[in-house]
C-alpha cells in the first residue's frame, strides 16, 4: 500500500486526483492521508467525492473514507474497464478535473469509452474546456490513443449545468513524444463568450485585446452563448503553432470589470509570447502524468509550477520513470522522461 501525505506540495485536491489516477494505471493500492489538510474546509468536498466515486466506478475499486469531509481515503483499484459512463459534478464543480482523474487509465483500457460529464466546463482554478480540447488533447493523441471532446453545453459558476462528452479510442500503451520547438505560428484568435449577460461586455473585452495585442478584426469574435443555464463570461486567446497550440483564459466574475477579465488573458498570452519554449505552465502540469506513464520523451517548458513539482514527487512514488528537469535555453526548462531501469 502506497502512503501519500495529502498535505505536501500543492496540498489540495490535485494530490488526491493524481494519486488515484496513478493507482489505477499501476494497479497499486494507495492510502492518501491529510487530504486538503490546510484548507479552510479540509477533507473531501463534493467535487472530490465525485472524482473518487467516478474512479471507483471505472475500475471497480475497493474504497474506504469516501465521504464528505473525510481526510483519509484508501483506494484499492481493480481492473479498469472502458465503457459508457456518466458522472455529475455538483456546485458547478469542474468537469475537466474529474476527467483528469479518470482519463489516464481509460487511455489504455480494454475497449473504447464514452464519458459524459455534467457540471462546470469553464471554472477558474481548473483547465477550461477550450484548453482541454485545443491544447491538451492533441498532444495526448500524439501519444497513441484518440480522444475527442465535445462541448454539448457550457456550464459556468455558480449555475453549472454544462456538459462535455469525451470519446476515447484507447491505445495498447502510451508513446512519449519530443516537443522542443513551437514551429511557426499558423493562426491566432480571440473569443469573448457571453452567456446571459450584456453583449457590451464582449465588445469591451474584444476592444482590450485589439488594443493590447494588435490582433486583426478577423481574429476576434464575440460568441453569444444561448444555451447556458446561468450567466457566464470567458475570454479565450488561442495561439496555434506548427507543433503546439496554447490557450489563455480570463474568467468573468461578479464585481470584476470586462477590462480586467480581458487583461488577465492578454497578460498570460504576452508572457508566453516572450518565451520560446513550446509548453506553457498549465500544459506542463497536464503532460506530467501521461509522459511519465509512457516513460520516454521530452519537452521544453516555460517553467515548472508548484503543481508540476508536486506531480514529480507523486510520480516518483508510483512509477520507475526518471524525470529530469534541466535548463534548456536561457528561459526554458527541458523536461526529460526515461525508463528508470537503466
Amino acid at each position: 500500500m502506497i502512503q501519500i501525505d495529502g498535505s505536501f506540495g500543492e496540498g489540495g485536491g490535485q494530490i488526491l486526483r493524481s494519486s488515484i489516477a496513478l493507482a489505477m494505471v499501476t494497479g497499486s493500492p494507495v492510502r492518501i492521508e491529510k487530504i486538503r489538510a490546510g484548507r479552510s474546509k479540509p477533507g473531501l468536498m463534493r467535487q472530490h467525492l465525485t472524482a473518487v466515486q467516478a474512479a471507483t466506478k471505472i475500475c471497480n475499486a475497493r474504497v474506504s473514507g469516501d465521504a464528505i469531509g473525510s481526510t483519509q481515503v484508501t483506494f484499492e483499484p481493480g481492473q479498469v474497464a472502458g465503457g459508457d459512463y456518466t458522472f455529475g459534478i455538483g456546485t458547478a464543480g469542474s468537469t475537466t478535473l474529474v476527467l483528469q482523474t479518470i482519463m489516464l487509465p481509460l487511455l489504455c483500457a480494454d475497449r473504447p469509452s464514452r464519458i459524459t460529464l455534467d457540471g462546470g466546463t469553464h471554472n477558474p482554478f481548473a483547465p477550461p474546456f477550450d484548453f482541454l480540447e485545443r491544447a491538451y488533447l492533441p498532444l495526448v493523441n500524439r501519444m497513441g490513443p484518440s480522444v475527442r471532446a465535445t462541448l454539448e453545453r457550457p456550464g459556468f459558476f455558480p449555475a453549472g449545468g454544462g456538459r462535455i462528452v469525451i470519446e476515447i479510442e484507447p491505445a495498447p500503451m502510451l508513446q512519449g513524444f519530443e516537443l522542443l520547438e513551437r514551429g511557426e505560428l499558423r493562426r491566432r484568435h480571440a473569443r469573448a463568450a457571453i452567456a446571459n449577460l450584456s453583449p457590451s461586455i464582449g465588445d469591451r473585452e474584444i476592444g482590450v485585446i485589439a488594443r493590447r495585442l494588435g490582433w486583426e478584426p478577423t481574429e476576434l469574435a464575440i460568441d453569444v452563448v444561448s444555451d447556458s443555464r446561468g450567466p457566464g463570461n470567458i475570454v479565450t486567446l488561442t495561439l496555434e503553432y506548427e507543433h503546439v497550440t496554447e490557450v489563455f483564459t480570463g474568467f468573468g466574475e461578479v464585481k470584476r470589470s470586462a477590462e480586467a477579465v480581458a487583461t488577465h488573458a492578454v497578460q498570460a498570452c504576452q508572457r508566453y509570447q516572450k518565451h520560446t519554449a513550446p509548453v506553457g505552465e498549465y500544459l506542463t502540469d497536464q503532460l506530467m502524468l501521461p509522459m511519465a506513464l509512457a516513460g520516454n520523451g521530452a519537452f521544453a517548458s516555460t517553467g515548472l509550477s508548484r503543481h508540476s513539482e508536486t506531480h514529480i514527487e507523486l510520480i516518483r512514488r508510483f512509477l520507475n520513470t526518471r524525470i529530469r528537469a534541466e535548463r534548456h535555453t536561457a528561459d526554458s526548462t527541458l523536461i526529460t522522461f526515461s525508463s528508470g531501469v537503466t
Binding site: Q47, G90, T91, D118, A159
Partner: protein
C-alpha cells in the same frame, strides 16, 4: 453512511427568481444545494400548485448545481397559508404518510422558507418527532449579490431537549432518596421510610441487600438505582450486571454465572468470563434468587465470602470483588425449611433485608407514578402524552379503589399507560380510552384468579385433600363450578337440571341426575359429602 434528505417548502418569495439574475440572488432552497460540503441525496420540495412555474425553475436549477440530488415535488394546496390549523393539519398528514427510513436516511427539515406559520408547524412536527430529523436553517451571505450560497446551521432538537431534561433531573435528584425513587414524589410513609434506610445503607455499606416483595413491585429498578447512587457517590466503579436466576436454571447456569474455561464441556469453544466476573468492582443483582439451584448456591456463597471461585472446568480460582443485591418474591425462610435454599447463604445475603410493598399496599403512590410514567414515555418516544382532566380523574379513582387488585403491581401500571398511549394517536388519553383500559385490567386480574388460589379452590381442597395434586387444572376449574352449583341447589336433580340444561332440551329422557352422580364419583365424591361439607 446514511443519505441526507432535505424536506422543505418552496418559498414563493425567497425562492423566486427569473432570468439569469437569479444566480446572483440568495434563494434558500437552491442555495442549500450549492454548499460544497453538504451533499444532499434527495430533496422533498413541498409546494402549492399555484407556484408550479416557480417550482419547475427551482427544481431545474437544483439539478444543474447538484446532479447528485434527486428532486421530488410534493403538491400541497393551502387555502390560507397563514391559517395555523390548516397548515399544521396538512403538514401533519404529510409527515404521517411519508415513509421515513431513518436507518438509511438522515432527514434535515428546512425551516427557512414558507410562511412563518409553516415554519412554526415544521418546528413543532420536528420537535414531536413526527418529522424524525434535525432542523436546517439557512441564511444569506454577508454580501447579498455575491452569488455565494450563504450559510446554514443544523439544529438537533433532540440534543437540546436532552440537555434540558438532564439538567432538570440533576436538580431533582440532588438528594439520594429522591434519586432512589427516580424522582417520583412517593407519599406512602412506610415506603418512604424504607427508601431512607436503603439510601443510608447504599452509601455507607457494601454488604449484600435482599429485596423481597411481589413481582412487579420494582425490585429490579430499585437495584439499578442503588447502583446509580453508589456510582454517583463513588462507592463503586464497575458495571451493573443483572440476572434473573429463573432464566438460567439447568445446565447452563453454572457457566453463565461463574464462567468456564475453553473445552470445559462440549460447546465450550472459548473462555467465558461469566456474570460474576463481569460484575467485578460493580454490582450484581440476582433477581429471583430463590430459583437458584443448590450447586450454584454453594458456589455463590463461596464467591460472596471469599470473593473468589472456580470457573467451570477451571483449575485456577478467579477473583471478583462485586457488591450483591438479591431479589425474591418467595419466602426464603420457607425455602430453607423445605431444603430448597441454603440457610448459610440466606444468612449471608439478607444482611440488609427490605420488603417492597405491592402497588395495592401503597395506593397513594399511584398518582405520582402515573405522572412519572407519562414523563418517561414522552422522553422515550419524543411525544407528549397526557390524560384529559376527566379521564385522569376516572383512571385515578379506579386505581385507588379497593377492588382494583394490581396483581402485577408497577408492571400492570406501566403496561396500562403504555397501552393507553398506543390507543391515543393524538397523545391525549380520553375517557373512552380509559374505560377500555379499565376493562382490560379487570379482565386480566380476573384471569389470574386460578381455582387453586381462589376461595372456591380451598373449598374443593377441603373436599378432596391431597388428591387435588393429581387432578389437572383443566378439571379443577370444572369441579369448582360443579361443587358451587351443587351447594346452591336443593337436590341432586335440581343441580343436574341446571348443569345439563342444554342437553335436557334436546333429549326426551332426562338422565342429568345420573350424569352428575357419575361425574362426582370420578373424584370420589357423592351428593351427601359435597353438601355436608358446606354446613360444617
Amino acid at each position: 453512511m446514511s443519505n441526507r434528505v432535505v424536506i422543505g417548502l418552496l418559498g414563493p418569495a425567497l425562492d423566486r427568481g427569473a432570468g439569469p439574475d437569479r444566480w446572483s440572488q440568495w434563494r434558500p432552497t437552491v442555495s442549500l444545494c450549492q454548499h460544497e460540503e453538504l451533499l444532499i441525496s434527495r430533496i422533498e420540495l413541498i409546494h402549492d400548485p399555484r407556484y408550479s412555474a416557480l417550482v419547475d425553475v427551482v427544481a431545474e436549477d437544483i439539478r444543474s448545481v447538484s446532479p447528485e440530488t434527486q428532486v421530488r415535488l410534493n403538491r400541497m394546496t393551502f387555502r390560507d397559508p397563514w391559517d395555523f390549523e390548516e397548515v399544521y393539519g396538512k403538514l401533519h398528514d404529510f409527515a404521517r404518510k411519508y415513509e421515513f427510513d431513518t436507518e438509511h436516511e438522515d432527514y434535515l427539515i428546512h425551516v427557512t422558507t414558507g410562511t412563518h406559520v409553516a415554519q412554526i408547524c415544521l418546528f413543532l412536527l420536528t420537535e414531536s418527532r413526527h418529522l424524525p430529523g434535525r432542523l436546517i436553517q439557512s441564511s444569506p451571505p454577508k454580501r447579498r449579490s455575491s452569488g455565494s450560497p450563504g450559510n446554514y446551521a443544523i439544529i438537533d432538537l433532540d440534543l437540546s431537549r436532552y440537555d434540558r431534561i438532564a439538567s432538570r433531573f440533576d436538580t431533582e435528584q440532588r438528594e439520594g432518596t429522591t434519586f432512589l425513587k427516580a424522582g417520583i414524589e412517593t407519599r406512602n410513609p412506610a415506603f418512604n421510610r424504607m427508601i431512607d434506610e436503603i439510601e443510608h445503607v447504599a452509601i455507607h455499606s457494601s454488604a449484600p441487600m435482599l429485596l423481597t416483595g411481589p413481582t412487579g413491585a420494582g425490585k429490579s429498578s430499585l437495584a439499578r438505582r442503588v447502583f446509580d447512587l453508589k456510582k454517583l457517590r463513588h462507592g463503586i466503579t464497575g458495571r451493573f450486571v443483572e440476572v434473573n436466576c429463573a432464566t438460567i436454571r439447568g445446565d447452563g447456569a453454572m457457566s453463565a454465572l461463574f464462567g468456564h474455561k475453553r473445552g470445559a464441556f462440549t460447546g465450550a469453544a472459548r473462555d467465558r468470563a461469566g456474570l460474576l466476573r463481569e460484575a467485578d468492582a460493580g454490582l450484581l443483582f440476582l433477581d429471583e434468587v430463590g430459583e437458584l439451584g443448590i450447586d450454584e448456591q454453594a458456589m455463590l456463597l463461596r464467591a460472596v465470602e471469599e470473593k473468589r471461585f472456580f470457573p467451570v472446568g477451571g483449575d485456577r480460582e478467579v477473583e471478583s470483588d462485586f457488591q450483591l443485591i438479591c431479589g425474591t418474591n418467595r419466602d426464603l425462610g420457607e425455602s430453607v425449611r423445605s431444603g430448597a435454599f441454603r440457610d448459610d447463604l440466606l444468612a449471608r445475603i439478607n444482611m440488609w433485608s427490605f420488603e417492597m410493598p405491592g402497588l395495592a399496599a401503597r395506593r397513594e403512590d399511584i398518582e405520582p407514578n402515573i405522572r412519572y410514567e407519562l414523563l418517561r414515555l414522552t422522553d422515550a418516544t419524543g411525544r407528549r402524552y397526557q390524560f384529559n382532566k376527566e379521564a385522569f380523574a376516572k383512571f385515578l379513582s379506579f386505581s385507588m379503589a379497593a377492588d382494583s387488585r394490581w396483581c402485577g403491581n408497577f408492571r400492570d401500571l406501566n403496561a396500562a399507560i403504555a397501552r393507553m398511549a398506543t390507543m391515543s394517536p393524538t397523545g391525549r388519553f380520553t375517557t373512552e380510552v380509559v374505560d377500555r383500559e379499565i376493562d382490560r385490567l379487570r379482565m386480566s386480574w380476573r384471569m389470574l384468579t386460578t381455582p387453586t388460589d381462589g376461595p372456591d379452590a380451598s373449598a374443593i381442597e377441603a373436599l378432596i385433600g391431597e388428591r387435588l395434586d393429581d387432578i389437572d387444572e383443566f378439571d379443577r376449574v370444572q369441579l369448582v363450578h360443579v361443587v358451587a352449583v351443587c351447594r346452591d341447589s336443593r337436590s341432586l336433580s335440581d343441580a343436574g337440571r341446571r348443569l345439563f340444561g342444554a342437553t335436557r332440551k334436546r333429549r326426551k329422557i332426562a338422565n342429568d341426575a345420573d350424569r352428575l352422580r357419575k361425574y362426582l364419583a370420578r373424584f370420589g365424591l357423592d351428593w351427601a359429602s359435597v353438601v355436608r361439607d358446606v354446613n360444617s
